[in-house]
């Protein structure tokens, strides 16, 4: 029974595919998997927009949208109708083709990322040997579409926003990938399915998730910080800092193209959260051994919604960083920390189990953290300001 419920979507797909002639079956199977991704994640996007607006409102002691439908839950529908019926304006001097292609490319790349994320046991669109590599390669293409948008608009705000986006995303890609290297080292595989399977065992009631190791915890936090910067979310939303550069790279977009940017950004956020779940939080595996009867896909989406809630929480808390703070944080803090995480993961791999292994792996990370944060505090200390040219 539990087995059947766990595999219900897989069984349904096999049942549907069996109606087609044998020649068509592989193609139909792929199309069905893609259709599922195309339905589930945009729906999740719609739900997230209303959750985010309500959550942020409650953080600021407001009600949030509560007029459309019961308790405002139909607000995404109203938003969709609004963005569909708005006028689509293309600037006269814009590069029309690139301007048109940029939002499409963003959404397509965002969807491509879902190909390697296992959302349940036996539920992955493509089980690639180099799945993690594929994921980061595709997410790097998002930068291209953002730069296309900023460049083709022929607007200085768009261009500034796009430049900021590229600088930020390239800088944070380094710690993002390096922190996942530690996982790939420990799991001994780049395939997302294998990585999840390595974490699906239990000692006692506790799962073998990588986040429950000292290097895994540090790696997870660093991964999530870098993921926030990768998906251009607050406090790293400099590319669209409305107080400085209007709306950044999508200043010149309106109507449905603007909605596509919004969709692409959220899909990117879900995908990278899905990757964090796959790498550190044990993918679809249950958090305790006595909860394994709950379907695997339920656990994936429960974890995903939790991470989305954290993203919303952080967005409601932190103000936007300054550009130089952003850069120095990436290169002076994130990068050394991720390198230490890799070192610690190597120690973890070769040391025998026990309390000593925990201490030996945790000490270098904690020590580096204290060292780096005291260095940053030193540079932040208030001094008498000196002027180069004013005096």
């Amino acid at each position: 029974m539990t087995q059947a419920l766990d595999q219900i979507f897989v069984t349904l797909k096999h049942w549907a595919v069996a109606y087609f002639p044998a020649v068509l079956q592989p193609a139909v199977s792929i199309l069905l998997s893609i259709a599922a991704v195309l339905v589930i994640f945009p729906t999740l996007f719609a739900v997230t927009t209303i959750l985010e607006r309500k959550g942020l409102a409650r953080i600021q002691n407001r009600y949030g949208p509560n007029r459309v439908g019961p308790f405002g839950w139909l607000q995404p529908l109203a938003d969709a109708v609004k963005s569909l019926t708005k006028e689509d304006i293309v600037p006269r001097s814009a590069d029309k083709l690139v301007h048109f292609a940029a939002p499409l490319l963003l959404v397509v790349t965002a969807f491509l990322e879902y190909a390697v994320i296992p959302i349940g046991r036996n539920m992955v669109v493509a089980d690639m040997d180099a799945g993690v590599l594929f994921f980061f390669a595709v997410s790097a293409a998002m930068e291209l579409s953002i730069f296309m948008a900023g460049w083709s608009s022929r607007n200085k705000y768009s261009l500034l926003g796009a430049m900021r986006a590229v600088a930020q995303m390239i800088s944070y890609e380094a710690p993002l990938i390096l922190s996942s290297v530690a996982v790939a080292m420990t799991a001994g595989s780049l395939s997302t399915v294998t990585i999840v399977e390595r974490q699906a065992g239990y000692s006692g009631i506790w799962p073998h998730w990588y986040v429950l190791t000292p290097w895994g915890l540090a790696g997870f936090v660093l991964f999530m910080v870098a993921a926030t910067a990768e998906s251009n979310r607050s406090p790293f939303d400099l590319p669209e800092g409305e107080s400085e550069i209007i709306a950044g790279y999508f200043t010149e977009y309106s109507g449905f193209k603007f909605a596509l940017f919004f969709l692409g950004e959220y899909l990117g956020m879900f995908a990278i959260s899905g990757m964090a779940i796959t790498l550190f939080l044990g993918g679809w595996s249950a958090p305790f051994s006595f909860l394994t009867w709950v379907p695997s896909w339920f656990w994936f989406f429960a974890k995903l919604l939790t991470l989305i809630a954290v993203f919303i929480w952080v967005r409601g808390t932190l103000p936007r960083l300054r550009m130089d703070q952003l850069m120095s944080f990436a290169w002076k803090f994130m990068l050394p920390m991720t390198l230490m995480v890799i070192f610690s993961a190597g120690l973890w791999r070769f040391l025998p189990g026990g309390v000593l292994r925990w201490v030996i792996c945790a000490v270098p990370i904690a020590g580096l953290y204290v060292l780096l944060s005291s260095c940053m505090a030193e540079s932040r200390r208030i001094q008498k300001r000196t002027y180069k040219f004013a005096e």
Binding site: G55, I59, N61, R62, Y63, W313, G316, T317, Y369
Partner: protein
């Protein structure tokens, strides 16, 4: 230590988030069409014409003196004087406005018409939802629409209306005393 402030901030926002569900007084929003704040007594939005008795036509206090029309800064009042006269509240025959229009879209709610009116005939209303889908007729309010009873005036500005009623009663008593004792009036005029 790096991250200390972030943790503090996260705790504060979490407290706000859960607190807004637990304590209603955290939410300061008034959900307008359903909930309304009590308006202060001195609220003023748009002028109206006061009439006594039950008849809006006969009891209108306005005597078409046109002072408000002249004083109105944005010139939103249009008055046409009547040709015949009708008795006012003291019984004295007076002119009355044949036409009294105020343009809602031009009025700036300055209350100068109220200040200058010697007859307490025009006062400020508190009704503020004046929007309409008829941009010409709907925004030009005529005499019939502007006229509101003294009881209504009492219901929106009780203190002010009571004062006005007192003054009017005094005036009326003086006016009634006049024909009965013409010598006293001439005496008073001489004294003045």
């Amino acid at each position: 230590m790096l991250g200390e402030g972030i943790v503090k901030g996260l705790a504060e926002t979490a407290r706000n988030f859960f607190g807004s569900y637990a304590e209603k007084e955290r939410l300061t929003t008034v959900q307008f069409p359903e909930e309304r704040l009590v308006q202060p007594e001195a609220t003023r939005v748009f002028p109206f014409l006061v009439y006594d008795t039950d008849d809006a036509e006969k009891g209108l206090r306005c005597v078409a003196c046109k002072i408000c029309e002249v004083e109105c800064p944005p010139k939103c009042i249009t008055i046409e004087k009547s040709t015949e006269k009708k008795p006012d509240f003291t019984g004295k025959p007076q002119f009355f406005p044949a036409k009294f229009d105020i343009d809602v879209s031009v009025c700036m709610s300055c209350q100068i018409c109220v200040e200058v009116c010697p007859f307490d005939a025009i006062k400020m209303d508190t009704a503020f939802e004046l929007s309409t889908d008829d941009r010409f007729g709907g925004l030009l309010w005529e005499k019939e629409r502007l006229a509101k009873s003294n009881e209504y005036y009492h219901s929106i500005h009780p203190t002010e209306a009571a004062e006005v009623d007192e003054q009017l009663a005094e005036k009326k008593a003086k006016a009634e005393a006049k024909p009965a004792a013409p010598a006293a009036t001439t005496g008073a005029a001489a004294a003045r």
